[in-house]
Symmetry: C2
Subunit: 351 residues, 2 copies
């Protein structure tokens, strides 16, 4: 029995992958309308700080994982004291704090954009003086899909940006004129085995992932370097499970280079293409790792473009399912604007 | 909400495919320990002739399908009067009666082995005189995995074979010296669209499917002819869903020919390879058809050998999961001898 914190589409897809491996899943989520509750009879509807519910959940399962990086630290510690928590509390602590994440990466010589911690407008002024403008001011916690950040183009925008963002502290990042975003989904298991999927080229729309294309238009040297950096990160974290790494490809005078934008200690939206065309997909890979099993072969059998369907776009299904398409719908009851409802993989022969 | 009769591995894999399409599944099965109960919170544990339970089940779902051809006719009629039953009662009636199936196929000019209906030892003697020996005496109903049949090699074995088999009536089939068994999984949807997967070459062990290999060692003309015959069958049945067709490849003086051994109105063990290497697998294809959706693309991306793991063989997992393998475990609580516990797809580059 695998315990999964979080009942959204990622938890749901993890539970489906666990079922294919003969496992049962127990979903823990405060939202009684969670889509993952529809794929297993075992659930807990409770807050993440409900210690009685957490203790009963831990008793009911053999190993615990999660679908989102914002599991509260106290929750992670409480559970990790009772059952194996994979990935571990350390990966959570680092990835849910943008400042801790950048410090960790920089300490391992992983390239990140220049940044400064900002706890006051005075520190923000100093940071702007050091990094220049434009720059991006971000919350260190709870940011996602473009939320929790402001671009500062002129010095007189700084105070308003500082006031607008919460929770504090913040981090100022130098604005990087990148060519494109790519990502690598990488896995490491209990035995220390490490495997990466092919890198994807990602396009966003309204700050939400729109498409992931594999193979992307990525120089081979950059693709190899991205995979290597992703592997360095999971080894440095002593990580167990699947991790998503987002990179910026930055043009250079001689050749482009890579910066890590952020890491996510979980299966990743930009890895949904793996389900359609890889021998092992990211969900099965995560479950294999969490179970202490050998990792699966990540070979890609075809080329693919994954497209997210947001809000009403899901209504294009089933009519849009012509040609070489593989859909995955999340079973959400209401197609609210901006809500990820489904994705479609469009598949073509391998180039 | 899709209602599924039967809670074994096929029902489980159908429910998992339905979940990927955003659907909910309600499993109906008399066995409280059914593996399909672990992949949905919606279940009914009741006998197939429990009309109150069947009525409540029909009320709870939008469309009904099944994982096995031995759904009692009265159950099928009861449900079909309340909600769409796909495939329909006609396909069930034909495929659960070996004699009706052969008569149907013969009437559509689909080649089958010579056969005679046998309701008495006198009829058996006449049938033996007409078809010759060896021949195979089979029950018309409830036979599977080699159960419910006897080979008769000498006339003096006839009476004992007749007495041993039940339920009556029986059918005597001429013994066909076939080269190999192949099978085609074919689908037809509500709109009448028809698509077949590539034929598989099947090897049995102890009368249970052991491996399905795709591509098999099958002459191209035979492969095309098998797909065509499978398509003719689903059109003739006005069928909605996935159907498995087993063929014997019979050597001939000029070229080999095909006989239909049997048809199964459901997803088929010899189609489990599709999950690993096809754009759409047989489970999703069945759900698409049952929902009235467009059929999916059946393109195969790689070569594959599917191997069933029977009884204790499942204990080879996870250690056996090295190389290009994709496992599927059924989550059965007890590995009894002869019980299908899992399968592994072994994948190689497309030839």
């Amino acid at each position: 029995m695998i315990g999964i914190l979080g009942g959204g589409q990622l938890g749901r897809m993890l539970a489906l992958a666990a079922a294919r491996l003969g496992m049962r899943s127990h979903i823990y989520c405060p939202d009684p309308d969670s889509p993952a509750f529809e794929v297993t009879p075992h659930k807990t509807v409770a807050a993440y700080d409900d210690e009685a519910a957490l203790a009963a959940f831990a008793d009911a399962v053999d190993v615990i994982t999660y679908e989102f990086e914002n599991v509260p630290a106290a929750t992670a510690e409480f559970l990790a004291a009772r059952k194996p928590l994979r990935p571990g509390a350390n990966a959570l602590a680092i990835s849910q704090d943008r400042l801790a994440e950048k410090a960790f990466l920089a300490a391992k010589n992983i390239p990140v954009a220049p940044y400064r911690a900002v706890t006051s407008t005075a520190e923000l002024d100093t940071a702007i003086a050091e990094l220049g403008l434009p720059a991006v001011l971000k919350t260190t916690r709870l940011g996602y899909d473009g939320k929790g950040q402001r671009i500062i183009r002129q010095p007189d925008e700084a105070a308003a940006a500082f006031d607008a963002l919460s929770p504090k502290p913040l981090v100022l990042e130098a604005f990087v004129p990148f060519d494109k975003e790519i990502s690598v989904v990488v896995a490491r298991n209990v035995a220390g085995e490490v495997r990466a999927f092919d890198p994807a080229e990602n396009v966003h729309r309204h700050h939400i992932l729109f498409t992931s294309t594999v193979p992307g238009d990525i120089p081979p040297g950059i693709a190899k370097h991205a995979a290597m950096l992703a592997k360095v990160i999971v080894v440095a974290l002593d990580y167990v499970g699947v991790l998503g790494v987002e990179f910026f490809v930055v043009p250079g005078t001689e050749r482009p280079s890579l910066l890590v934008n952020e890491i996510a200690p979980r299966v990743h939206n930009s890895g949904h293409w793996t389900e359609a065309v890889c021998l092992t997909d990211q969900f099965e890979q995560h479950i294999r790792a969490v179970l202490g099993w050998p990792l699966g072969d990540t070979t890609r059998m075809a080329d693919v473009v994954m497209e997210n369907l947001i809000g009403d776009e899901v209504l294009s299904i089933p009519a849009a399912l012509t040609g070489a398409t593989q859909p995955h719908l999340y079973g959400k009851s209401e197609a609210r604007p901006g809500r990820k409802m489904a994705h479609i993989n469009r598949i073509t022969a391998k180039t």
